[in-house]
Symmetry: C2
Subunit: 132 residues, 2 copies
Amino acid sequence: MKKERNTTQKEIIGNTVRRMTTHPTAEEVVAKVHEEHPGIGRATVYRALKRMVDKGDLKQVSITGGADRFDFRTEEHHHFKCNRCGRVFDLDAETGCSPDLSELLGQLDDSSAEITGVNISFEGICRCCKEE
Amino acid sequence: MKKERNTTQKEIIGNTVRRMTTHPTAEEVVAKVHEEHPGIGRATVYRALKRMVDKGDLKQVSITGGADRFDFRTEEHHHFKCNRCGRVFDLDAETGCSPDLSELLGQLDDSSAEITGVNISFEGICRCCKEE
DNA sequence: CTTTTTGCAAACCCTTTGCAAGACA
DNA sequence: TGTCTTGCAAAGGGTTTGCAAAAAG
């Protein structure tokens, strides 16, 4: 019967990540937290982020060839990653399992970005695992 | 003026990864290569995989919270990841920047998988970078 | 013979873990 | 008080790099 406790560290880390709109890596969150609170340990930040992800208060976004990034926007939305500068941009569009692709493409057109690829990954439970 | 050379190692590694249909991690490729050729160094495998990716002969697929995986299928296609067993399945569908989402969903229905989320990420060059 | 590539080990980055001290309820 | 959380440092995966020896062209 483990009961989660509220701590000032968790609050600080939560507030910090919720203010970062740049899809930060864990290390970037650590750095930001340390600006104001250098005493907070790196492991504490990692643990707090993980807890938030587990509770659904934060999204973990994987980016090829780099550290995972975090996104405080937990509503379903999608991304555009610039292969030159490495930044990740948000795309807003209809949520659900069947989002409107043309709407996403429209947003990208508006932003004058050059699109070289799409990557769609679904997740869930496969048949084998469901049958167990 | 560096000129790439052909070596037996590169050939072995290339042949090996092209036979692996399971979206292996680099370590899994190393293990497979070592089954027949234990003398080939780990770094050589990593370097060969990276070169193949750079040349477009191999795709690198990022999976949240784990090592990157490789996919010898370089045609555009998409994935379904089982959150329980961690396996990654291929989905075949119309290629291009505007794939047919309903076709992908149809395939998933056929496989009786339970879908809990979609992740769509475009890549390319953002406006700022294009302007430079 | 020149330059690339290899194998090894060490270095590196990112993240997790063990543990004693500290904080919450 | 009981036990959850913290900070630290060490360990752990995964990947890259420096370097001398080997191989390609």
